[in-house]
């Protein structure tokens, strides 16, 4: 990725979490950048730093007792709906650039568009695919479309390569046929004709070889042949037709509207993190008229989503998969990592330094309970490691120490009866503190390849 592109992406996705910091309008805390090799900027920095400090201290003295709010909680919380099948949904509104779903995606990469690879882009992709919106530039293309383009180009390249190879074979066959015939002809005229034929074919073959030489390199092919993604509008599939909203009042073809089919889906750990740690979401059951879920109810829902039946709270042991996953998720999120599902690589989580659009995930997390009992065998670890090695990532075993059943139950009981939100928050924190995390990198080492 080019440096410029990375910079652009980092400016779009600058917040690691969906928290809006508000700065008091009166306090302008602007500090210029320091450039190491430019001493003038040091002076500039120092002077404005001092000025700002003086200003702020002055303001604080003036407004004694005024608490400076650093986290903006007044802004609306994001509504999450949980379906009967434990799917946590955030609606994606059309035409609002800063809708809730986009906000969650842009600030920390929460959730996944169900009809996209990760960023919810299905609507715009489909608009282009169905030719509902013809004007777009190459810059707007989504990552799915870029991949499709590259695959199309690769396919065309292979077809062309194959056709050159076949033509070449055909010409070579003709040449050898003429050479064979030359042995049996006698007249000079025929001989001369054949000579000419041979020369002509040989020239053709040379030309062809040159062409195929030029085509050898896929990159060269790419730069000279730009394949278009949506070339012509064929008849719509019945499935696609069902998506177009037919408004009888609008006759204009360009005004046909597409139905939004996609929503952002959150993992249970994400939904719980957004509620417990950030207090940024309100979770409602999808059935109409239901009340907002309390943190405890959400917790129960999340635990249950890992199983096919409900486990009563009093029967939980504290080592349920959701709890292990959540402890790990919370741990890495608090260290600033972007944590996403790793199901594609057969692990629990993927760790991104910044997020999916900016760089590939570096680490694959395999969550294990540190009980000493449930070690899988090494064959399994080895196959997991080979898969992950194949995509140039590092496998990390995350071992979670779990509290005893009695400790866990004691805290849960307290949470259940605690009515005060802040006190309850403290109890959740106490619960999370019972979980300890130890990481272990697992990597194959080939002694013979590592001798220098």
């Amino acid at each position: 990725m080019s440096k410029f592109n990375k910079k652009r992406l980092l400016s779009i996705y600058k917040n690691p979490l969906p928290i809006d910091l508000i700065y008091d309008n009166d306090i302008t805390f602007v500090i210029p950048q320091v450039v190491a090799h430019n001493p003038v900027s040091w002076i500039f920095f120092a002077s404005s730093y001092l000025k700002n400090c003086l200003e702020i201290s002055g303001q604080l003295i003036n407004n004694t007792g005024k608490v400076h709010q650093s986290i903006d909680n007044s802004s609306q919380k994001i509504v999450v709906k949980v379906s009967d099948h434990d799917v946590f949904k955030v609606e994606i509104e059309i035409g609002t650039p800063e809708s809730d779903a986009i906000k969650l995606w842009k600030n920390g990469f929460f959730g996944k568009g169900i009809l996209s690879r990760s960023e919810p882009t299905w609507y715009e992709r489909t608009e282009r695919r169905l030719h509902l919106k013809d004007q777009y530039s190459e810059k707007d293309l989504t990552s799915e479309e870029i991949t499709a383009l590259r695959r199309n180009e690769r396919k065309k390249f292979k077809q062309l390569r194959e056709s050159y190879e076949n033509q070449q074979l055909e010409l070579e066959r003709q040449i050898s046929a003429i050479i064979d015939r030359q042995k049996i002809v006698s007249t000079k005229k025929e001989m001369l004709e054949m000579e000419n034929d041979l020369k002509r074919i040989q020239r053709e073959l040379e030309d062809l070889k040159l062409l195929s030489q030029q085509n050898q390199d896929f990159r060269a092919f790419q730069s000279s042949h730009k394949v278009k993604l949506y070339e012509y509008a064929g008849p719509l599939r019945p499935d696609d037709n069902a998506l177009i909203i037919n408004d009888p009042t609008i006759s204009d073809k360009d005004k046909r509207k597409l139905m939004q089919l996609e929503y952002l889906q959150l993992m249970p750990v994400e939904a719980f993190f957004l509620q417990l740690a950030l207090d940024k979401v309100k979770v409602f059951p999808e059935t109409t008229g239901s009340n907002e879920l309390s943190t405890l109810e959400l917790f129960q829902r999340c635990v249950d989503s890992y199983y096919s039946s409900t486990t009563p709270m009093s029967r939980l042991a504290g080592n349920e998969k959701f709890l292990l996953d959540y402890a790990v998720y919370h741990h890495y999120r608090s260290h600033g990592w972007c944590v996403r599902s790793g199901v594609k690589f057969g692990v629990d989580f993927l760790l991104y330094e910044k997020g999916p659009p900016i760089s590939h995930a570096q680490y694959c997390l395999h969550v294990v309970e540190n009980s000493g009992k449930n070690m899988e065998d090494f064959v399994e670890y080895s196959s997991l490691n080979r898969v992950i090695g194949g995509v140039r990532k590092t496998l990390v075993f995350v071992c979670v120490d779990v509290p005893s059943v009695s400790t866990f139950q004691k805290i849960m009981e307290k949470i259940a009866i605690e009515k005060d939100i802040t006190e309850q928050q403290k109890l959740w924190k106490k619960l999370l503190n019972q979980y300890n995390i130890t990481e272990m990198v697992y990597r194959r080492w080939v002694p013979s390849r590592n001798r220098d």
Partner: protein
Amino acid sequence: MSLVDQVKTNLTYYNLWNETKVIEFKDGSKIIAGVPPEPVHPIPSIITMDPNQDLEGNHVDNNNNNNNNNNNNAINNNNEMEVEQSSGVQIPQSPKVEYVYPVGLNEKISLKQVSQIFENLQIALNQRPKRITLGVVANDGTIVYYFVHDGLAKPKKN
């Protein structure tokens, strides 16, 4: 959305499969039939088990039968493969119907269940497909697809 709906939507609108429809079996389980936009890689030759012995439903027995019958059972040759191997040129094939069975990531699926799916399909279609695809739904909405062949599949030629 139920698992079946999730997988069906994903196939129709993300992977752009055509004519996706849900087939419900007598035992209440469901499978999705659909045609991919482009042919998925050809089904390799499969050494099949004898369908009649399968009906008993006992695993261990099946395995034994399978082993014993390997030599007797003719290898089910796939026409596509033959064409490919004899001429060395790939003939573009039109996509065929594939069957996708939705599973939750936390579900455990046994060989017996897989065998039952093949049985169900055989009854419903009067023909036993050579493979099905498991559509594994993760809790973030990702769906990963895995082939399951009805017997031993010859590795793909590279």
